[in-house]
Amino acid sequence: MLRNLCLELEAGSFVALLGPTGSGKTTLLRILAGIEKPESGQVFYDGVDVTSLPVQEREIAFVYQQFVNYPSMSLFDNIASPLVVGKEKHSKKEIRKKVMEVAELLGLVEILNHLPEEVSGGQRQRCAIARALIKQARFIFLDEPLANLDYKLREELRTELKQIFKDRDGVVLYATPEPIDALTMATHVAFLHEGNVLQYGPALDVYRNPSHTAVASYFCHPQMNLFPCRVESRDGGYLLRASQELAFEVGLNRDALPNDHYLLGIRPHHLFLSDPQNRMIPFHSTVELAEVVGSNTELHLRHGEIRMSLLMQRVEQFPVGKELTSYIDPNHLYVFNKETGAFVTRTSNRSE
């Protein structure tokens, strides 16, 4: 269910519709593409109201999660199909030229003669993307196209897709639950939460300046750590207390913040296992699990009732239950309203 959504997307942008399952991103995508009709409201393409225009009459391309290709046609014919069935007439030579261009872009030239079932999942998805590109449609919609591919393939395709969709004239809309997709590929991010667009803007802006805990914690890879904290003003600064042991003074970008309980946010890569410059906040923690993710280790820690993730940028193993001292970098704290989740302030910080 979507509610009162207003979005204005610029030509030349790659917009990630980011949000967890059920947040409404796929519904929004389908409505914008014309596959579904909104109950109320309008959709405009280049200023023209297309709300009632059926999808077949819109010049759009849609890539599904399920690598939809015609099973009995070769990859060549699959890719050519939008040109063959489209309204415009193209000569065989023209079609061949365009197919080769797009196949080259997607690394499919050598397998163009194969059937979809004869090639890998990644290649089938590339074929589906090639079909979407060949029409040179002004609006391209992709619904979690990498979801069914394995880890390494996703990693490769992400950077490829970014290059492929660069320097285009229309708008690319990409629905995904993965923050890393948005960070790697998108120029802009619309963050969806329970049917609302909570925040929209240039990708890095939204990432660095989240307006709400929902955005801050989700649009962070791994998720931002959030836990309750008492904030009290002290001469010139504030005392933050999250637990018996975890209490410290910081400067915040806000004068006269009312003494109250708030939610404190800190990203996993701003937690450390050592403090060579002696400027961070130490606290005792127990290892719940060390997860190896790519070239990093995500250390799941417990400090009393508080659970946190610490991102180590190397591969290292830790036994479950190991006790160690962890450190919080006080320069990178976010403060959010405990009731509404709205962003309140952050620690005064020279870098970034």
Binding site: E155, H269, S295, R314
Partner: protein, 363 residues
């Protein structure tokens, strides 16, 4: 629990309709030490599930031996091997409580009630299932059911090993973390011999102390996660493990001196020296996280141009180019390098692996 070994294991499959070549495992030697957490990692179709079936006795290998604590068990039927298995889908008796599910294998053996109860309680505590003891398993979520499946396997004290085949497949992402934690905790606490089969390197490297990478029925490398990461035996392992994968740089000997193919760049002396005595096809491997970068020129560092900047939240990945050579480097999240910028690069020799004919050269 026991030590499990496969010696000179050979097995042939008739090819299925989809595969174009017949499948084979040829002369495989693997050993899994008693009480260790292990993973068999490889893409679909590489043979890992076949190996599990050979260990459990479901399949008889065409050649070689399966040994438990040094004793050959090829002739032993599955029910006498005491291998516990956890599959993709939980295997529990839906209408029975958690307690009864766990008690079942013991009651079946005719073990006395008091002993059964004590043992079940012990296992439930370790598995953090005590609060669910009287709940019928059909009310449990898939992750909880998997823990019960595991419990049923380990409640018998004569269990030799636990084999897991992609146990997290049907588990919701939100519940995966806790299940991973429990599996690791239980293995640690009870010192179980566990073999975890998966195609997901995240699963394998998180769970296991020892990982065996299999490809096309053969072992590519068998090592700890750190070793796989630092010293991948082949460029494939270097690429497969880690994100992004290891950079591979092709080299050639030009008048007895090692040079990078199609590049004017000079190799640092220590590296050229490392590989000077080699004669086959030479490749250098260095992980993006070990490539050193500097916006300012530095003596003996090479100049590259930034071609792509990929943000990954906690860090950035830069794609760098010099002539036809492209490598990736990992830099800090607040790096301000832009496309087109020049960057000076150093590849520390102690972080650079040398490969001859596709194999890591250890010096």
């Amino acid at each position: 629990m026991a030590r499990i070994e496969l010696k000179s294991l050979t097995h042939r499959y008739a090819s299925s309709r989809k595969e174009t070549s017949s499948f084979a495992i040829e002369n495989l030697d693997i050993s899994w030490e008693d009480g260790t957490a292990n993973a068999l990692l490889g893409p679909s179709g590489c043979g890992k599930t076949t190996l599990l079936n050979i260990i459990s006795g479901l399949i008889r290998p065409t050649g070689g031996s399966v040994l438990f604590d040094g004793v050959e068990v090829n002739e032993r039927p599955t029910r006498d091997r005491h291998i516990a298995q956890v599959f993709q889908f939980p295997v529990v008796y839906d209408t029975m409580t958690v307690f009864d599910n766990l008690a079942f294998p013991l009651r079946n053996q005719g073990i006395e009630g008091k002993t059964v109860n004590a043992r079940v309680r012990e296992i439930m505590e370790i598995l953090e299932l005590d609060t669910l003891a009287n709940t019928k398993t059909r009310h449990l979520n898939p992750a909880e059911k998997q823990i019960v499946s595991l419990g049923r396997g380990i409640v018998r004290k004569d269990t030799v090993a636990v084999l897991l085949d992609e146990p997290l497949t049907v588990i919701d992402p939100v519940l995966k973390l806790d299940l991973r934690r429990k599996l690791k905790l239980v293995q640690q606490e009870l010192r179980l011999t566990m073999i975890y089969v998966t195609h997901d390197q995240h699963e394998a490297l998180t769970f296991a102390d020892h990982v065996t990478i299999i490809r096309d029925g053969a072992i590519v490398q068998s090592a700890t996660p750190e070793e796989l990461f630092l010293y991948p035996r082949t460029p494939f392992v270097g690429y497969f493990i880690g994100s992004p994968g290891m950079n591979t740089i092709r080299c050639e000997k030009v008048s007895d001196r090692l040079k990078i193919v199609d590049s004017e760049l000079e190799l640092p002396d220590e590296i050229a020296h490392k590989a000077s005595h080699l004669n086959g096809t030479i490749e250098l491997g260095i992980r993006p996280e070990f490539v050193e970068t500097s916006p300012d020129e530095k003596p003996n560092w090479n100049r590259f141009t930034v071609r792509m900047v990929d943000h990954a939240g906690a860090y950035q990945v830069l794609t760098l180019e010099s002539g036809s050579l492209r490598i990736k480097a990992r830099v800090e999240d607040h790096s301000s390098s832009r496309e087109g910028d020049s960057l000076w690069i150093n590849t520390p020799h102690d972080r650079t692996n040398v490969y001859e004919d596709g194999e890591l050269v250890t010096l």
